[in-house]
């Protein structure tokens, strides 16, 4: 807890403002769901503060990009900022259109978790990129992959909402669920399937752009690298989830549970690579610089992972 406080104190002012805005928005969403008093005013404020936080998020990324002269996702800190930007964009757009307050609240919980993790990592300094990342593929590959991560995270939230929502809701009555879904009927299952599809397509695009880039940078479009493998594993499992939608022998709740569980594979693909026994064999894991005598290999020296 203390290290969060210490690192927050050392963070850049923009990051501090963004974190405060996201936290306040999250609390406001919770209040607008839990209380009927001043519900619409608090809800409006929650949305505006969410938007404000997201704008600061954009500002931090753009300013870092300009200072660094490269896309702003080299370090873990930057990649988490980029994730919260893309995921925030999706969550805010869906929430704005569909008025699902609970989606706004849960999205902010995920964004805040990502930011707190970034705060814990604290690789905040703007660093240069090694030659392998100095490529025109860097921006599209990471953007497409992170759009995939963001989309399946939306699908994860929708699967949770579909699972916890049981029975019919009387929208005219002032209840938790009526407030949480903005007093309108929402078919979470259909929405969930749509976002799994979007996520699946982006994850595929990420795999393919990664393959095309790798052929230019590392000479292999596919090298069975642990990070590539986990990208493939999560994509295959989401492929299985999509197939499950076409089966009659599985209940829809089972499909939702499998889909929700699949999101943890994405989490592992993003955060878990450093814990793999095969991390030393990955060209995607670069949290520690290589020793100088190994630094002669020009392919993957000291890159950051995401």
């Amino acid at each position: 807890m203390m290290s969060f406080y210490f690192n927050f104190a050392k963070a850049e002012i923009g990051f501090q403002l963004m974190l405060i805005a996201y936290t306040v928005a999250c609390i406001a969403y919770a209040l607008s769901i839990l209380r009927s008093k001043y519900e619409s005013e608090i809800y409006k404020a929650a949305r505006l503060i969410f938007l404000l936080g997201w704008c600061v998020n954009v500002y931090i990324l753009v300013s870092r990009g300009i200072i660094a002269g490269r896309p702003p996702f080299k370090t873990f800190y930057e990649s988490l900022l980029y994730f919260s930007f893309l995921f925030g964009l999706l969550a805010l757009s869906i929430e704005w259109l569909k008025k699902i307050k609970l989606l706004g609240f849960l999205s902010l919980i995920i964004i805040l978790s990502a930011e707190l993790f970034a705060l814990l990592k604290q690789d905040i300094d703007i660093v240069t990129v090694p030659p392998a990342l100095n490529s025109g593929w860097f921006l599209p590959h990471v953007t497409i992959y992170f759009s995939g991560y963001s989309s399946v995270t939306v699908a994860f939230i929708l699967s949770i909402l579909a699972l916890i929502r049981t029975g019919t809701i009387n929208l005219d009555k002032d209840s938790f669920w009526a407030r949480a879904i903005g007093r309108q009927e929402v078919n979470f299952e259909v929405l969930h399937r749509d976002w799994v599809r979007i996520g699946y397509l982006f994850l595929l695009g990420g795999l393919i752009t990664g393959g095309l880039w790798a052929k230019f940078a590392w000479s292999d479009y596919w090298a069975w690298d642990p990070k590539e493998n986990w990208g493939l594993i999560s994509w295959l499992i989401y492929g299985a989830v999509l197939h499950m939608h076409h089966t009659s022998f599985l209940k829809s709740r089972t499909v939702l549970k499998v889909s929700a569980a699949s999101w943890f594979l994405i989490l592992f693909t993003y955060f878990g690579m450093s814990y793999l026994p095969t991390k030393s064999q990955s060209m995607h894991i670069y949290t520690e610089p290589l020793p100088p005598d190994e630094g002669k290999d020009v392919k993957g020296v000291n890159r950051e992972m995401y």
Binding site: F6, D123, P131, K215, D220, L232, A240, L276, V298, V301
Partner: protein, 675 residues
């Protein structure tokens, strides 16, 4: 059709929907292929023969299926639950390969997994299920083949092929197209590596199995020559930043995530987690150090002796010896004749330290094809490599040549000190039987390099390293506790005098050491001035002067920070530290200008390749692979030939277009068609 007739319809249905049973069946399928690979291995088949055998067995299985269970198999392959089973099973198999390290030797697996509780299972999988090279094992390939069969069967089932179904068809055909591309790549795929020396065309590369350029094996001949015209490491301009540490860890260190600042004169900021204020007073992009040691009674005890060294010339040397720092407590004569040492206390037991001693270890280091190998020198032993051998012949305690290049006898006293010391003799024996004598100096690797240049293949470098030796035999030792100066030679005290200031201690003809001052609480008094001479960026030495003030007490501390000082400079009783250092030193790019030349000398292609920008010529991709930091005229180039690449890329396009078509265009097409 036998199985189709034998299995009751209800059972068929049950199996087609039962994911657990299907996964058990997949395990049996995998076991079958493990047995087949063991059989192939016992026949000592190479990779290409194994793939051909794999395809032959697949054809036989397909024939048997068509003959005996076509309907049953077709229904199974086109069932959605079986598709789910396969996807999950392949995902699990892929995950297994990320848990077991790939392509190690069995002894390395024993070291890794021998002592952990789950190690037996890992070793079992490595030993019997080819988990050491999982993604190239036949059982893994058999799962991909089964997936390909399923997707083809599903594509066939979805006839007639109407426009809305185009996406579905593309997606399911794409799997087979991608795998076909990979399969074609198995035949004729080449990855080879060589270290090119500037202006020395070569046509032979060394084949490597994986992406590691050190894993070189057999030669690969190009139908033309490749020449390195120029190699260049492009670096970022160095950027120095100021790092503030505000969390002392109680053990003399600080946190590992300091706050950093742009080092610009005039910058003012409040330090995080404190009330103290930072101000950058001066920032010099290139500074000259005019700092000196001064005595400061408020500083901790740190004895420093100022000594003047007379060398028989009109310019005596002036210097400081720091008793508590092993690096700066001694001054070594560059000519190797004596060393001056300042110690806090001299003990008789220390005498044995002050004598010339032989190295405790002798190591030969070889760098070739981008990889470095070490071996302890053992007389008569042979170091075996695929294309040459190195035989360890003997060691010399001193300069090994008895005659100079003109044939005149060499007087050992006249040999420059940097060529004396230990030498090693080796013999290089190439596969075609040629032998060459190699002599390596431990003190002067550069000299050994030029000496052996004609005998070593391009890109091969050898070094002889010793450790644990004492190169000096004569020492002048100043001792603080008993205030004495001793002249010690080979652990014998030859002369002893009281340490008196301004009185020369003559220890050798024409040489004297005169103590000038003893600073008991010494600290560096920093002073930097701007360098008016323009130096290259890499040689510049930036420095900043900062002040730190505490508004609550009104106290201010000021100090200079040197851009080359690695340790933090501390303030306010070591509660705050600052380092001014280079942000990072990543190279921006590595570039090699290469030319492909046919045997008649005609230029076929020319390009400046870099990481991310290879040269592609008639299906051969030439990559910038690595470099030799010690030799800027050498560049590591990798060549890759990959048949089937464009088939795989076609598969990539099909699966992306197909998915978009299936998810998003299909509803639009259907709507337009009025379905």
């Amino acid at each position: 059709m036998i199985l189709d007739k034998v299995a009751p319809k209800a059972d068929q249905r049950l199996f087609r929907d039962n994911i657990l049973q299907q996964n058990l069946a997949l395990i049996i399928w995998v076991c079958l292929w493990i047995l087949i690979q063991h059989l192939f291995n016992s026949l000592q088949w190479n990779d290409v023969q194994q793939i051909s055998g794999f395809l032959a067995v697949l054809i036989i299985i397909t024939g048997l299926v068509i003959g005996f269970a076509s309907t049953w198999t077709y229904k199974l392959l086109t069932s959605i639950p079986f598709a789910i089973s396969q996807l999950v099973f392949i995902a699990a198999a892929t995950a297994l390969g990320t848990l077991i390290l790939q392509e190690l030797k069995f002894s390395e697996y024993l070291d890794l997994y021998g002592s952990v509780w789950w190690g037996d299972l890992a070793l079992l999988l490595v030993k019997y299920a080819f988990a050491y090279d999982l993604y190239r094992s036949l059982w893994f390939l058999s799962l991909l083949a089964l997936l390909s069969a399923s997707t083809l069967a599903v594509a066939w089932k979805r006839r007639p092929y109407t426009l809305p179904r185009g996406g579905f068809l593309l997606v399911h055909l794409a799997t087979s197209v991608i795998l076909l591309g990979g399969l074609l790549g198995k035949y004729g795929f080449v990855r080879a590596f060589n270290e090119l020396k500037q202006n020395q065309p070569v046509s032979i590369f060394w084949k490597v199995k994986g992406p590691d350029p050190g894993d070189w094996k057999n030669p690969f001949s190009l139908p033309f020559f490749i020449r390195l015209d120029q190699f260049e490491v492009v670096k970022h301009d160095p950027e120095y930043r100021l790092y503030a540490f505000t969390q002392p860890d109680g053990r003399g260190g600080f946190e590992d995530n300091p706050k950093s600042y742009d080092a610009e004169a005039g910058l003012k900021a409040r330090l995080p987690l404190t009330w103290k204020r930072l101000e950058i007073l001066q920032a010099l992009p290139d500074a000259l150090n005019r700092s000196t040691w001064i005595n400061d009674i408020t500083a901790p005890e740190n004895p420093v002796l100022q000594v003047m060294l007379g060398t028989g010339t009109s310019n005596p040397l002036l210097g400081f010896l720091v008793a508590q720092d092993s690096r700066t407590q001694r001054f070594n004569d560059p000519q190797g004749r004596f060393a001056l040492v300042f110690s806090e206390e001299f003990k008789v037991n220390d005498l044995s330290r002050f004598k010339k001693s032989e190295p405790k270890s002798h190591l030969v280091q070889l760098t070739f094809a981008g990889k470095t190998f070490d071996k302890e020198f053992k007389k008569g032993s042979i170091w075996d490599f695929p294309v040459f051998k190195l035989k360890m012949i003997r060691l010399f305690n001193d300069f090994p040549f008895k005659n100079d290049p003109n044939g005149k006898p060499v007087k050992i006293e006249t040999v420059p000190p940097e060529l004396r010391g230990n030498w090693a003799e080796l013999e290089l024996i190439t596969n075609d039987g040629q032998q060459a004598k190699i002599l390596l100096s431990s003190r002067n690797p550069e000299f050994s390099k030029s000496l052996n240049a004609a005998n070593l293949p391009p890109g091969l470098s050898l070094q002889y390293q010793t450790s644990g030796e004492e190169a000096f035999s004569q020492f002048v030792v100043f001792s603080k506790k008993d205030m004495k100066i001793r002249l010690i030679e080979n652990a014998q005290i030859l002369k002893e005098s009281p340490l008196l200031f301004d009185r020369p201690f003559i220890f050798k003809n024409g040489f004297s050491a005169t103590p000038l001052a003893l600073l008991l609480n010494a600290r560096v008094d920093g002073k930097y001035i701007p360098n008016t001479q323009v130096r290259p960026i890499s040689e510049r030495n930036p420095a900043v002067q900062i002040s730190l003030s505490d508004p609550r007490t009104g106290k201010t501390e000021t100090a200079w920070l040197d851009g080359r000082e690695a340790k933090p400079t501390t303030f306010f009783d070591k509660k705050i530290g600052f380092i001014y250092r280079l942000k990072d030193q990543e190279a921006r790019d590595f570039r090699s200008k290469i030319t492909l030349i046919d045997p008649s000398g005609k230029t076929l292609a020319q390009k400046e390749i870099s990481v991310n920008d290879p040269l592609v010529y008639k299906g051969l991709w030439f990559y910038q692979s690595n470099y030799n930091p010690e030799d800027p005229t050498v560049s590591g180039i990798m060549v890759v030939y990959e048949p089937g690449l464009w088939v795989t890329y076609l598969g990539f396009a099909m699966i992306v277009i197909g998915t978009i078509w299936m998810f998003y265009l299909k509803p639009i097409i259907k709507k337009r068609q009025g379905v």
